[in-house]
Symmetry: C2
Subunit: 219 residues, 2 copies
């Protein structure tokens, strides 16, 4: 393996970075710096999250674009407000795809707090969802993997400002696959390696991760 | 909480980034893009890893600089070659600090492979170490936290090229704290949140994480 003398830069979505840097936003950053700006029509800090308005209508394996090397993909999507207000069957029907539907993974929605200026402000809501394929659909499900979506929406007081229409709102979603029978690592260290490129970790073993990073010769 | 119209940029070490981007290198990136370049005296892709030649002589709580918001710190350090060659007591004495010593955490050293060009090349070795305080020393240890070091060195064939001296070599180290009684999360998702800013996760609960990120107004 040769070594180039000039450092290599890596294109990550629309951003050119030195190697080792990744888009690993906190919940707060996703909501405050990206989703809020999107909903208000303000310029975004970086062009790393594409719009995919019909995200909820797509089977997860049909979602376009390659996952990053850690198997994550981020999208802005448009959610009918009814999906937020109504639970259960209403939401399920709105989010049905050709081969199944996205179902809340159980557990309460998690508030997203902004910690700026010493206080804690509610800025968003994080909802964990899992894709439930109908019988006979979804070969990935049979292989022991499930698709997970973290859906971030703006907190209620902000919801109707600057949205697409009265009955629609922007959300930002993180989508990835996870093993259905994850190993239980003995310590923090093992958990950390989940986020690194590691072919031996069970959680990423079924992600067909074609990297979206490409090298750029530095100037 | 006001929202500025111009996107905010964040200074991360020597690199200015849009929010949400972090230095989360893979093992391969750390060794190939940073440690190898350091050892060969080549320009580094980014000034994000400071030199701390006497790292092994410092108690972990005396290591300078603030941890990033996920509690990690990276340093280039100089290791006596004897520490690599000799195990056990030799290594321990070389790496003794005022209040304890760094001890291999058990388990084999992990090879770091470069996956470029379809093949797998051994480029480095990752050694996990844990800080063992002497009795009565290290209040952090009593609080249920331990200090962990991931020490990356170049693979044997490269070790003596371009090093400081015949008996010394550059290593790159990742240092962080972890809980001694980590929770065992039920799924991959819980493990993922370990890498995000989450005050409720046990693994990061004892890290006094003062962020080293500062905001920069974008031009």
């Amino acid at each position: 393996m040769e070594m180039r003398v000039a450092p290599v830069l890596v294109r990550y979505g629309g951003v050119v970075l030195p190697p080792g840097f990744r888009f690993h936003p906190t919940d707060e950053e996703l909501v405050v710096q990206y989703l809020r700006r999107k909903a208000f029509g303000l310029p975004l800090p970086a062009a790393v999250i594409p719009d995919l308005c019909n995200l909820y209508k797509l089977d997860p394996w049909d979602i376009p674009g390659a996952a990053s090397d850690d198997g994550e993909r981020y999208f802005f999507a448009v959610r009918p407000a009814a999906a937020a207000a109504g639970g259960g069957r209403c939401r399920r029907q709105l989010q049905a795809t050709a081969s199944g539907f996205w179902k809340p993974a159980g557990g309460r929605d998690k508030p997203v707090l902004a910690s700026r200026y010493g206080g804690s402000h509610l800025v968003g809501v994080k909802k964990d969802m899992v894709f439930v394929p109908r019988r006979g659909k979804g070969s990935e499900a049979a292989a022991g993997c499930s698709w997970v979506m973290h859906e971030y929406s703006l907190a209620l007081p902000l919801r109707n400002k600057g949205c697409l229409a009265q009955a629609e709102e922007w959300v930002v979603c993180r989508i990835f696959q996870r093993s259905r029978s994850p190993r239980r690592p003995a310590d923090h260290d093992a958990r950390r390696t989940q986020r690194r490129r590691s072919p031996s970790t069970s959680a990423s073993s079924c992600v067909t991760s074609s990297s979206d990073q490409e090298e750029v010769s530095s100037g």
